[in-house]
Symmetry: C2
């Protein structure tokens, strides 16, 4: 955690304190408390100090793990196992004990807690700007190293996926059983999205990373940017592999996408790949401190627009073409500030961002190439070493 | 989803509609919408119908995947990419379009959305009872089958863990390098919690399950019920293995704990294991429709209390003894209703619950045994087939 940046961003807070009620799954909570509590707990920032309140079950671990200035437990406020009202009484007591009569909460803080504190006379406002997100957006060197480590695991997993795809046979006209010609085969069986995803996930686990989802989507499935992919993969189609692992030790994420093809892609796919590689380069060229996320997005869009491909700038309702933003910040969350999109904020040294242009159309397929970079004092450092190539090898 | 049960539980709702603003990570959202959206989206239950509102990027997948009655996208409410105020305007428009002027939200719904709707004249109240949790607590046969499948993967993973532990050598006085005598060895290297956890996780992946955390904790670490464990495992100590995988296909969870020992456990550990096995049996004997979660908890506590071990009933502040509840409901969340604890609610057929007594003391170690059962019309069915044994084999 960057304590100086934290204090700066809370200097103009229009409340006595800042309150989080969340488990470690909430990145703000993990960042501010430094504690991996599996159940929701309270963290209060007030007068430059961070205070954590946990259940007795978590107390020992919280005391040794949390980076907060104080750690207390429910019993310190005479709370035993009880209902919702007793719990809310304890929360109000904890907040007042720190001299706090008004708190600000992030937009996704729980309304149940907010309203319960209001009923107890504590003023609760919503920090619509989500200032902890802004604090988190600029990474310390230690945080960048954590992301770099996760990216190394990511590259190992991408290598395992590409090996499987490149090593596949292609079912011919005389394929056995009900296998369609053109289906990729691994050890005689159809190579499925699920099989490639399993290989990715096992590789990530062996490298200390976990993940919930992986995208391995071919053909028309690849034309839906959020389709995880399922069933047999085929030759001559574009196969999008998008991996976003999280380090189990540090909880920081990495993110990378490559698009592969076995056999002969259509002329359209080949053009799309070249265009997307150029859009990636144009966007990367635009990354530097002082440039805005919108400017980086514009650089990618212009490459596509000049080639006649639709974007949200030329047609806000288009369902084909470049139909997402150019990238996003990444850290404890896979998606966090800054956004590389319309309205995207100014880039600062220490921002870690993805740059990921792509083209989509169910008639053609999908192509996306995504690198992970950190903004530096004079440009950026690309944290991605994995080669960019369409033909799997 | 059990639609009849849903309608029954919403019949006495004191608002025109029930609103969720969450991603698929929220079990209420996944249950009510049937959609695995990775970013927060709105689901509104009103007049017996379920309405979903997603971004254009998710629209195609939501239409084919969601079990909701209607699926709409932001563009249907003239929202393009814009700021927070424009988004809140869209939300209010969507809610009013369904004839809704007042909504109830679950306690952990986002305060930002609640307050934004209030500012736009929509009455927002908090459903302190979290009625969707109550709906979800009773599983359909299909849901029980999904949990059963996840439990099969769990048993395969537990088998892999026990094999590693049982197959370990024990470092002797003449152990090489800086390996302490008594440390378990696997292929000549110290067998660590991390190594066993990795084996568990790879096995789960091969069986279609994912998970964020696994507990493999030996010695004093096992005395903290939420310690995930780290470093070398040792002979003559109790090793707690607690696995809670989630099926990637169905998103339903399973949960099981076993405690193993290699070598000779202390007399105290041996007694604890026997006591815990008896507490498990006593608690299971108490499981039937009409019994309360508190009664099941009492049955486990009494076994321990009669043997002189502290529980939260005899000493609310104890840090040793039986220091957690006897179990919890499980489904789309690992921890959900009902609770097997003080104040725990009445059991109903279709409740799927864990029963997991345990004893903890850093001086002795930790022992926990956990089965997964479904409440039936006349008792329960145990979904756990894994043997209960202390000596790893």
């Amino acid at each position: 955690m960057n304590r100086t940046r934290l204090d700066e961003h809370f200097a103009d807070l229009d409340a006595d304190g800042y309150l989080l009620d969340a488990s470690q799954e909430d990145a703000n909570q993990l960042y501010l408390s430094g504690f991996t509590g599996p159940d929701p707990f309270l963290t209060l920032y007030a007068d430059g100090e961070v205070h954590v309140l946990v259940s007795g079950l978590e107390y020992g671990r919280a005391k040794s793990e949390a980076t907060a200035d104080t750690v207390e437990r429910h019993a310190d406020y005479d709370y035993e196992y009880g209902g919702r009202e007793a719990r809310s009484d304890m929360y109000a007591k904890f907040v007042r004990d720190k001299g706090v009569e008004s708190v600000s909460m992030p937009p996704r803080g729980p309304v149940g807690t907010a309203d319960a504190l209001r009923e107890r006379g504590i003023d609760v406002s919503v920090d619509t700007g989500d200032r902890l997100q802004e604090v988190r957006a600029v990474k310390t060197e230690e945080e960048v190293d954590a992301i770099r480590e996760a990216q190394k695991a990511n590259e190992a997993a991408m290598g395992a996926a590409e090996d499987l795809i490149a090593g596949a046979d292609v079912a011919g006209e005389d394929a056995a059983g009900d296998v369609e010609p053109g289906v990729l085969l691994h050890e005689g069986e159809p190579l499925t999205s699920e099989r490639v995803a399993e290989e990715i996930e096992v590789t990530l686990l062996r490298h200390g990373c976990a993940l919930d989802e992986t995208i391995v989507a071919g053909g028309a499935q690849a034309a839906d940017p959020h389709d995880r992919g399922s069933g047999p993969l085929r030759a001559n189609e574009a196969i999008i592999v998008d991996i976003f692992p999280r380090s189990k030790a540090t909880k920081y994420n990495a993110d990378m996408t490559r698009t592969f093809c076995v056999g002969e892609p259509s002329e359209a796919l080949r053009e799309w790949y070249d265009l997307t590689e150029r859009a990636l380069e144009a966007a990367l060229d635009a990354v530097e401190p002082g440039a805005t996320g919108e400017e980086v997005h514009t650089a990618a869009c212009e490459v596509y627009e000049e080639a006649g491909e639709p974007t949200f700038r030329t047609d806000p309702e288009t369902e084909t073409g470049f139909i997402h933003s150019t990238g996003h910040g990444i850290g404890l969350d896979v998606h966090e500030s800054p956004r590389l999109a319309s309205g995207g904020e100014e880039l600062e040294p220490g921002h870690v961002i993805t740059v990921e242009p792509g083209l989509y159309d169910p008639e053609v397929g999908g192509v996306r190439i995504e690198d992970l970079v950190v903004v530096t004092a004079d440009g950026y450092e690309n944290l991605t070493e994995y080669p960019v190539r369409f033909a799997a090898e």
